[in-house]
Structure formats: structure tokens, C-alpha cells
């Protein structure tokens, strides 16, 4: 074998600790990079798979094509899998729904070959149709239309084309025009058809079946159809969807599978996207920085020793190429061990993490979905990770070699570059002298004259502090942003409302539902949305700032929308007590007073034209009590308010028209009244401020609370808020929901007004949990990297100074003195590391804050607990490493060490 390879291998073996730590460094870096890349990729695949399962794998669809056009589209460049369905026809199946403006049709589509691969057709009963006489009905048909078919029923319908009275074909994107619409529509050339119902499928999402579609889509197979063909297709390069769309203009009406497109990397221009990219960039930066610095440090700490050896090699005739070769060989050897192990560790780590989090991921998607989170490996990404690691290793190893190549051999041997001792005067402070004695003086001289040697340690400490704190900030802000964008949990699990006569006794309904659902807490309220007018002097500066940019604001008051809530008296009293207010003040019917929940969730225009979320206070708490007002057009029997206008002399006028059956304006006649006469002003006396209560929307909205019994006193005897809202907190929301459903059915009340809110917010909560788990994993890995980094640098550094210590020992430095010297050095390391690390960490935190701020408004803060941990750990790790290293040194025989040129 080549002598230089022998040399390399022997060096590695001789410096076993350093070699092992370097390999650990490579393993950790590789593991981290792998975990990040594969984790992201797996998550991405999971989202794509769940969308594909949920909504089908199709990416582009075109409707309204002739069969020939459909064929052309299916054979267009870049189109992957494709399938069609042919319109068999429309049938009016529920004319009474048409009158209400609901879906009245059934739309029968005949499925072509392979459509199951592109659309998610999930059977809830029966089987797929196999021939033209069989039909599959959507689940929403029987649910909402009042038309109930079961498996095995026969269905007869008159199918024809849906056309306007002018004979033009109407697409599924046109809602039912109805008899009073812009056009009359009919089913042309109806033809009687009889089908056997073979099954029910879960109706398509809006991406396939648009909201406007006035027909329930029923599926059959093998029918010719009326020539109106729809193509569904995938693209060969989903990442280039936008390009494909631009290059191939639509022939029919085109739809793009927006969820799938989004998850394939074609995001829109939203502020969340900006934040997402920003966070990813910061993450990649931190990881890359951490691992590169770890590997680099592992090599560079022994630079001076290596430089010297390269110098000797060179002086006995090693060429540049040979030295470079030896370095590459070394890097290769280390990588050959570190990279595969790191790869396995990274994959295993992220695989285990993802498996553990399965439950959390499951609840993010449709219950019962078969898509499960699992580790999906991306070979190309792994290769890239390995290459990044290898290149880093190579570069780190090559730097000292480059230096050795550049300078003359004798300079390398003397290490004039690396150990640039400065013969400058060093004054040791009196305190140092007192605390650390002669040894402290030695150490401080060492430190000041031989900065290069200490630099690697300080740099590794600095990096560690920065990485740790930045990682913590990153996680903290990310969690904040996710919570912020998703909205805060309002704490209410189940919601119900009553209307009409059922509103008469809310206490009874509350008691019934609470008992049935075995709920923890529950209340009811009447609420409405009010445009409050706030006197400027009572407006909080935060709100003022927001309103300043709103040109529609009047001068003598600000308009601020919010909720007006009449809360169950008992809950209201609770609210008062919780906030230290006297309930008695609020129950005077002659002077009703309100409590205010002062915070509003707001959306502001973010950078790049997106929105970002935040909170703002509305009233200035110092100015309470104060009075707000609102105005509304007066009610007039038989008439409805239509719009405002301005009269010739500049006065605001209110217009009224005759009231139709459904409350719509009818006729030609317009009545106008001056606003000053026709407007009713309501006053709201605000008596106290409360913290954010957990009653529904108040978490996000400026809200005035009155006792339920004060409703008429505030709004007047004729006021009607039409519905009463109930909210419940139930630990087991799913069970409570079912029990309440049963109770309602038994009581002959509708269940359509009952919602399981918790199920909806569950996925948000899970998202936050996933983010948290990843954050912790990330922090742990980064900390490990930082730890390895510091340990590596300090221990090697001490080992390199073996000779120096042995010499000091040989002239009489005792163990105690040695310890004092070490302590002093630790102190300097720690201080210096923090001196650079903390500002850098704060700077990174600031960058992260800016990134988070593009989606979510949040104040700048530093994660102090992490800072304290970082400061504590710095000293702990430094001292521990020093202890370890000096324990090893103490085992040394002084003479051996003196002679030892090798570490």
C-alpha cells in the first residue's frame, strides 16, 4: 500500500479519541441531515397520499370536451394516467328543491376505463356498477335531498341535456338558475332510463363536484353518453404543473386539483408560504451550519499537529498531489465509516419518530383513512445528504493540507502559521492573580499569546450556544406561528343552537343536553354582530393604528365590528367573579352595563401581499367606563331596508322597499327617509374589562357581554336575535356528541344544529403537537452536535498540549495548581464563547422572528429559559470535558508525555 495511506491510517489509529469523535461528528451530522430530509420527504409524501386517497390522484381535469378533444388531451405531452367520464344526462328528481334554489337534479356520468385510479370513489354500501343498467349513488343524495334510495332499488329517470331556453348547454359550474333566474333552464330531449342501484359512494369533494353543481353525481358504466366528456389526468411531472398548464391552454372548462398541486410544490403566494419557506431555510441553515462546523472543527483542532506532519512529509519530498491524496484518503476513510452509520441512524431515528407520531398524524386527516404516516426513503435525497457530508469532510480535511501546501515546509514544521505566538506584554489582572494564582497567570498568558489554539474551542462554544438558542427560538416561534395561523383553541367542544319556539326555555335545553352529554361545563347565549361606534378618546392605540389606514372611518367616532353577547345570567356572574367584579352592578334593568372582552384577532396585510394574523386591543382600559353606540335602520312593518343614498342637499338617506314573502325586496316603490329620523341608536355602557373568556367566538373577537336577562333592556322590547347558542365543554367530545344527538332525536328536535367543534380543532391541536415533537427532536439533535463539537475541541486541545503540561509538571506544577489553571481556562472559554454566542443567537432569533412575522404577528422575545440552559450548559460541558481530559492527562507519565510528539 502507498506509504502515505499507511501514514494516514496510522495517524488515525494513533489519535483514536480524535478519530472516534470525528466519526461521531460525521455520524451525527449525517443522521441529522438524513432525518431532516427524509422526515420532510415522508411528511410530504404522507400529505400527497392522503390527498390522493381522499380526493383522487388526478391533477388536471377538463369538462365539456367532445370525445375527440378528450382523446387529444389524453395524448398530450406530459400527461400521465388519464381517464374519462361521459355525461349520460341530467334528470330532475326533486322539483320541490328547485323552488328553494337547492340541487334538484341527478347527473349521471358513465365512467370510462381506469377512472378508479384517478378519483377517490369510496363505497359506503354495495359495489361498483358494471354495466349500463347499474348505478352508484352519492351519499349526499339520500342525506339531503329527501330522495331515499337503497341498494337494490330501481330508479327511473328521464335523462337529457341541461340547456338554457336558448338551447345552450349548461355546465356543472352553473348553479340552478331556477324559474326566476337570469335564464330559464330545462332538460332537453329527456329519455326514460331505468337503473338498478348497486351501491352508495361517499360523495366527491368540491374539487371534483363543485359547490355550484345543481346535480347529484350518480355513476354508471359502459354508456355512450351524450358527447359531453370530462377528462381526469395526472401529470408526469407534478412539480411542473404550473408550467404544463401555461403551455397547454384549456379547450373545455379546466380544473386543477388544488390540494395536490399545493403539496407538489406549486404553492400560491400566501404569507404562510413565505413563512414556511423562511422556516425551512432557517432550519436547513442551522442544520447545515451545525454539521459543517462540527466536522470542520473535528479536523481543524488538530490542524497545527497535522500541519507539522505535512511539513515534514513535504520536506522529504512529498508533492502537493501526494499530500492532497493523503488528506482525501483520510476524509474518505472517516466518511466510509461515518456516512453509512449516520444514514442508518438518521433513517432509524426519523422512522421511529414518525411511527411514534402516527396517532397524531392520523387525526390530522379524515378518520378511517387508510393512509398512514410512514418513512418513505428518497434515494436521491439520501445521496445528496451523503454527498454534502462527504464534501464537508473533504473540505474540512483539506484546509490544513492546503495551508501546508501553500507555505514552505520549514514554516509548516515550525507551525509559524498556526501557532502565531505573540510576544506581546501580557498583564494579568490582580483579581485573576488573587483567585487563580501563578497558574491563572500562566493560563492567561497562554490565552493571550496563543490565540489561535484557543480560537477553535471558543468558536465551537460560540457555535453551540448560537445553535442551541436559535433552535429553541426556531421551535418557539414556529409553534407560535402554527397556533397563531390556526387560531387559538376557544375551549368549546360542542355547539348547538335553537331557533323559533325552541328558544323559549333555554335552561331546559341546557339541562337536557348537559345531562345527556355528561358535559363538564355548558352555557347558552344570544349573540349578534354589531358595528360598534367607539369614541376616539376611548380607543386603544393599537386599534387606532389599525384604523388610521382605513379611509372609511368617520372623524367623531371609530367603527369597530364585534360581538354583542347576552350570556346566561349564572355564567355572567361567574365571569364577574373570575375577574374580581361585582355582579350586582350589571343587573340593573334601568342601567344595563356591559363587560368587554377587549381583544380582536386581526388580519393585516403582510409582505408579498399575503395576510398575517395577530391580535389587537380595541378599548383603552384606562378609559373604562365608557359608552359605545351602534346604529341600525329602524324596522318598518311590510318593508325592508335596502340601501343608503345621499340626497340632493347632501343628507344621508335610508331606502326601503316592500317586503316579499321570503324577506326579499319586491316591487318598484322606494321609500326614503333621512338617516337622522330613521336610524335607531343603541347605547352600550361598558362597565368593566374581563380576560379572554372561553365562550365561543370571544377568544378571537371584540365582545360585549350582558346578562341574558338584560337583552330586552339593552335592545328594546321588540328586539329579536333569532337564535340561542349553546356551547359545551366535554372531555370526551365524540361520545358526548353522539349522546346529545340521541337526546335531541328523542325530544323531537333537529340534530342538524349540533356540531362537534372539538373534532375540528383536534387537527389543529395535533398539528401543534407534531410541530412540538419535531422541535424537540431537532433541539436534541442540534444539542448533541453542539456537545460533540465542544467535547471534541476541548479534549483534543488539551491532548495537544500534553507536552506543555508535562513540562510544567516537570518543573513542579502540582495537581492542585493544574486544576486551578484548568478552572481559569474553563472560565475564559465559557465567557468568550458566550460573549460571541449570545449576540449571534439573539441575531438569529431576530431573523427567525422576522420570518415568523410574515405570517403571524408576534412580539419579539428571546427564549430566556433556553438562554439560561445554554449558559449553564456551556460551563457544565466545558468543566466536564476539562475534567475528563485532565484525568486522562494525569495518567500520563511525565517523561513519556514530554517525549511524545504525537498528541
Amino acid at each position: 500500500m502507498n506509504i502515505l495511506c499507511v501514514f494516514t491510517r496510522k495517524s488515525l489509529l494513533a489519535n483514536r479519541t480524535r478519530t472516534v469523535v470525528t466519526i461521531i461528528g460525521i455520524i451525527l451530522s449525517m443522521a441529522l441531515i438524513t432525518a431532516v430530509i427524509e422526515g420532510a420527504y415522508s411528511g410530504h409524501q404522507f400529505l400527497i397520499r392522503s390527498v390522493e386517497e381522499e380526493e383522487g390522484a388526478w391533477m388536471v381535469s377538463e369538462t365539456g370536451l367532445t370525445p375527440e378533444e378528450a382523446e387529444t388531451l389524453r395524448h398530450t405531452d406530459g400527461v400521465g394516467k388519464s381517464a374519462v367520464w361521459n355525461e349520460a344526462g341530467w334528470a330532475m328528481i326533486a322539483p320541490e328543491r328547485a323552488e328553494r334554489g337547492d340541487k334538484p337534479y341527478m347527473l349521471v356520468e358513465s365512467m370510462g376505463e381506469g377512472i378508479e385510479d384517478l378519483l377517490a370513489i369510496r363505497l359506503t354500501a354495495g359495489r361498483m356498477p358494471e354495466n349500463p343498467g347499474e348505478i352508484l349513488l352519492p351519499s349526499n343524495l339520500s342525506l339531503t335531498s329527501g330522495v331515499d334510495y337503497r341498494e337494490g332499488d330501481t330508479l327511473t329517470a328521464a335523462l337529457g341535456r341541461r340547456v338554457t331556453d336558448a338551447g345552450e348547454t349548461v355546465s356543472i359550474f352553473e348553479p340552478f338558475a331556477g324559474p326566476s333566474g337570469e335564464f330559464e333552464e330545462t332538460v332537453a330531449d329527456p329519455e326514460e332510463r331505468t337503473y338498478t342501484v348497486v351501491g352508495i359512494y361517499e360523495h366527491f369533494s368540491w374539487e371534483v363536484d363543485p359547490y355550484e353543481n345543481p346535480g347529484f353525481i350518480a355513476l354508471t358504466r359502459g354508456e355512450e353518453g351524450n358527447g359531453n366528456t370530462t377528462v381526469f389526468c395526472t401529470l408526469k411531472h407534478p412539480g411542473r404543473t404550473v408550467k404544463w398548464l401555461d403551455a397547454h391552454p384549456p379547450v373545455g372548462v379546466r380544473r386543477v386539483h388544488s390540494d395536490l398541486k399545493k403539496f407538489n410544490g406549486s404553492f400560491g403566494n400566501s404569507s404562510m408560504t413565505t413563512a414556511l419557506y423562511g422556516f425551512t431555510a432557517v432550519l436547513v441553515f442551522l442544520v447545515a451550519f451545525g454539521s459543517v462546523s462540527l466536522i470542520y472543527n473535528s479536523f481543524s483542532i488538530s490542524v497545527s499537529e497535522r500541519t507539522r506532519q505535512f511539513g515534514i512529509l513535504k520536506s522529504v519530498g512529498a508533492t502537493k498531489k501526494q499530500i492532497r491524496g493523503s488528506v482525501l484518503y483520510e476524509a474518505f476513510l472517516l466518511s466510509a465509516v461515518g456516512i453509512p452509520v449516520g444514514l442508518v441512524v438518521g433513517c432509524a431515528g426519523i422512522g421511529i419518530t414518525l411511527t411514534c407520531l402516527r396517532g397524531a398524524f392520523d387525526s390530522m386527516i379524515r378518520p378511517g383513512s387508510e393512509t398512514r404516516m410512514k418513512l418513505v426513503l428518497h434515494p436521491a435525497a439520501l445521496l445528496i445528504a451523503a454527498l454534502v457530508c462527504l464534501v464537508t469532510t473533504l473540505i474540512s480535511a483539506a484546509v490544513p493540507a492546503r495551508r501546508a501546501i501553500r507555505v514552505s515546509p520549514i514554516d509548516s514544521i515550525r507551525q509559524t502559521e498556526d501557532v502565531k505566538l505573540r510576544a506581546k506584554e501580557v498583564k494579568t489582572g490582580r483579581l485573576t492573580r488573587k483567585l487563580f494564582g501563578f497558574e491563572g497567570m500562566m493560563a492567561s498568558k497562554n490565552f493571550k499569546r496563543n490565540r489561535k489554539r484557543y480560537r477553535s474551542t471558543v468558536v465551537s462554544l460560540f457555535l453551540s450556544v448560537m445553535l442551541f438558542i436559535s433552535a429553541s427560538s426556531f421551535c418557539s416561534y414556529l409553534t407560535g406561528a402554527v397556533t397563531g395561523v390556526a387560531g387559538e383553541d376557544d375551549g368549546m367542544d360542542i355547539r348547538y343552537y335553537t331557533a323559533g319556539d325552541e328558544r323559549d326555555d333555554p335552561e331546559k335545553t341546557l339541562a337536557m343536553l348537559s345531562a345527556a352529554g355528561n358535559t363538564e361545563d355548558g352555557t347558552y347565549m344570544d349573540n349578534t354582530y354589531v358595528e360598534y361606534r367607539i369614541p376616539p378618546e376611548a380607543t386603544h392605540p393599537e386599534a387606532k393604528e389599525l384604523l388610521a389606514s382605513d379611509p372609511g372611518q368617520e372623524e367623531d367616532f371609530y367603527t369597530w365590528g364585534g360581538s354583542l353577547t347576552f350570556l346566561r345570567d349564572e355564567s355572567f356572574r361567574d365571569l364577574c367573579r373570575k375577574n374580581g367584579l361585582d355582579p350586582a352592578d350589571y343587573f340593573d334593568p334601568d342601567h344595563p352595563k356591559a363587560l368587554v372582552s377587549n381583544r380582536s384577532r386581526i388580519m393585516r396585510e403582510g409582505r408579498n401581499g399575503g395576510v398575517r394574523y395577530g391580535y389587537a386591543l380595541t378599548l383603552d382600559p384606562e378609559k373604562i367606563p365608557c359608552t359605545l353606540t351602534s346604529v341600525a335602520p329602524m324596522e318598518m312593518e311590510g318593508y325592508v331596508f335596502t340601501e343608503e343614498s345621499v340626497s340632493e342637499n347632501g343628507e344621508r338617506m335610508l331606502n326601503y322597499m316592500a317586503r316579499g314573502e321570503r324577506g326579499e325586496a319586491v316591487g318598484e316603490e322606494i321609500l326614503t327617509f333621512p338617516a337622522s329620523e330613521a336610524e335607531v341608536v343603541t347605547e352600550y355602557d361598558v362597565g368593566g374589562v374581563i380576560g379572554i373568556p372561553t365562550y365561543g367566538t370571544a377568544a378571537d373577537q371584540f365582545t360585549l357581554f350582558y346578562p341574558f336577562s338584560m337583552e330586552k333592556a339593552v335592545l328594546g322590547p321588540d328586539a329579536d336575535l333569532y337564535q340561542t347558542n349553546f356551547v359545551f365543554r366535554a372531555p370526551n367530545h365524540a361520545e358526548a356528541f353522539e349522546d346529545m344527538e340521541d337526546a335531541l332525536t328523542e325530544a323531537g328536535m333537529t340534530t342538524a344544529r349540533l356540531w362537534d367543534e372539538a373534532a375540528r380543532s383536534e387537527s389543529n391541536r395535533m398539528l401543534v403537537r407534531v410541530v412540538n415533537v419535531f422541535s424537540y427532536g431537532f433541539i436534541i439533535l442540534i444539542s448533541l452536535i453542539a456537545l460533540a463539537n465542544v467535547f471534541n475541541t476541548i479534549s483534543t486541545n488539551i491532548m495537544l498540549r500534553r507536552r506543555e503540561f508535562a513540562m510544567l509538571r516537570s518543573i513542579g506544577l502540582g495537581n492542585r495548581g493544574f486544576r486551578r489553571m484548568m478552572n481559569y481556562e474553563c472560565l475564559i472559554y465559557g465567557m468568550k464563547g458566550l460573549m460571541w454566542g449570545l449576540p449571534a443567537a439573539f441575531l438569529m432569533t431576530w431573523v427567525i422572528w422576522r420570518v415568523a412575522g410574515s405570517a403571524f404577528e408576534t412580539g419579539f422575545y428571546v427564549p430566556w429559559p433556553s438562554v439560561i440552559i445554554a449558559v449553564g450548559s456551556v460551563f457544565a460541558v466545558v468543566f466536564a470535558t476539562m475534567l475528563y481530559a485532565s484525568a486522562k492527562l494525569r495518567e500520563d507519565n511525565t517523561v513519556d508525555a514530554l517525549k511524545n510528539e504525537n498528541l
Binding site: 499507511v6 494513533a14 514552505s408 515546509p409 514544521i413
Partner: protein
């Protein structure tokens, strides 16, 4: 025949106040096969001169010709080959590779040149240097004198045309010193090698064909004692 020509060589270390003129306009020539001793007080620039002759340092000014070749006009690659084939350098402070054993250290230049090791020569050298028993030892397991002998072995292994030795006997007793000098001398005669030795030892200097004395980076004396034997 002239093998070495040194012209107006200067070497300046540092800058400003700390500037040191280690060599200050040194010129001389050396005949092929000559045994030249360089003497001078400590810090006079002897090692500096030797390093420059050996192609491991760079002069601040002046030129060095070896065998008609301007040494420092060569590129790095040629210089490396020059170091491994033309000169054998014995350092004042051995400069052995700590992780390589005696044998490997000695054969380093040959192996680096990609040539097979001449076992006969290796054994002969090990025998003469008294390192036969130590051939598998690492440098830190050797005494100072033994390490010195390994570095001599390394320099002689390739039978270079010029051998440069910086106090090769600094760590040896007089009997051992004499043996080393004899070894160098015989190699000098046998291979017609040019031998340049820095020494503080008057006995050794007097065995040379010629003595150059350096003081403060300048040649103060250049004295031929006898005709070259090689």
C-alpha cells in the same frame, strides 16, 4: 565540478521592529563531492542557510543553483521531487513522523517516489546506524541520539547528491559522534555525495575539506583545509 552555487542569499524574518536578518548577502560555491563544514555561533543563520539549500524554505533574495538548476525557479511539484531525490536533509530537531516506525520513516522518501525499497541498502544503513533492533519502534520509543540516527538514515536512504546535516551529532557522545561522521564521510566518498554539515564540534569541523564560518548572517571565513577526497 561545481554542484552548488549560492548567490547573494538573504533571508529576512518578520517586519518592522522585529525584523531579523538571518542571512545577509551570502555567496559561495561548492564543488561536487566536497565535505563542507559550517560553523558559527548560535543564532548566526546556519540552519536558515541549510534549509534554503535543502529547498524547504524560501530566500528573501538571492539565488541557489544546484547542478545548474535554479532551485527556487522550479514550481512546487518540481521542488518536491528535487527534495526527495537531490538532497537529503538532516534536521537539528529530527522531524520524524511520530506514527511511523523507524523503517517506515527511513524509507519515506523512496516510497514516496513510488520506487521499491532497496532492502539491502536499508539493512546496511540500519546496521551502520545501530538501529537493527529498533526497526519497528516508533520515534517516541527512541532516545534522542537514536532519533537523530533515524533522520540520518532517512537522508541517506535515497543516496542523494547533496546531504545537508544540521548538527547531526548534537545529541551524541564523542564516540558515537565519530561513528556518525564516519558514516556520512564514507557515504560522501562512496557515492561522490556533496556533504554539508553544520556543527559546533571543532573535531568534526576539522575533518571537513573546507570550513565556512558565519556570523550575523554573513560569511566571515571560508577556509579550505584539504582537497576533496570524493
Amino acid at each position: 565540478m561545481e554542484i552548488l552555487r549560492i548567490e547573494n542569499l538573504t533571508k529576512v524574518y518578520g517586519s518592522g521592529e522585529n525584523q531579523v536578518r538571518a542571512l545577509d548577502g551570502v555567496s559561495f560555491t561548492v564543488e561536487k563531492g566536497e565535505f563542507l563544514a559550517i560553523i558559527g555561533p548560535s543564532g548566526s543563520g546556519k540552519s536558515t542557510l541549510l534549509h534554503i539549500l535543502g529547498g524547504v524554505d524560501r530566500p528573501t533574495g538571492g539565488k541557489v543553483w544546484l547542478d545548474g538548476q535554479d532551485v527556487y525557479a522550479q514550481d512546487e511539484e518540481q521542488l518536491a521531487v528535487f527534495r526527495r531525490r537531490q538532497v537529503g536533509l538532516i534536521y537539528q530537531f529530527y522531524n520524524l513522523i511520530p506514527v511511523l516506525n523507524v523503517e517506515e520513516n527511513m524509507t519515506l522518501p523512496v516510497l514516496m517516489d513510488g520506487r521499491p525499497v532497496n532492502e539491502e541498502r536499508l539493512n546496511e544503513l540500519l546496521g551502520i546506524l545501530g538501529l537493527n533492533e529498533r526497526r519497528k519502534h516508533l520515534p517516541n520509543q527512541l532516545s534522542g541520539g537514536q532519533q537523530q540516527r533515524v533522520s540520518i538514515g532517512r537522508a541517506l536512504m535515497n543516496a542523494p547528491s547533496v546531504v545537508l546535516a544540521d548538527e547531526p551529532t548534537g545529541n551524541l557522545d564523542s564516540r558515537n559522534s565519530q561513528e556518525i561522521v564516519e558514516l556520512l564521510r564514507s557515504s560522501n566518498v562512496r557515492y561522490k555525495q556533496t556533504l554539508i554539515v553544520i556543527t559546533h564540534d571543532e573535531n568534526i569541523a576539522l575533518q571537513a575539506d573546507r570550513i565556512i564560518a558565519i556570523e550575523d548572517g554573513r560569511i566571515t571565513r571560508d577556509e579550505r583545509i584539504r582537497e576533496a577526497r570524493a
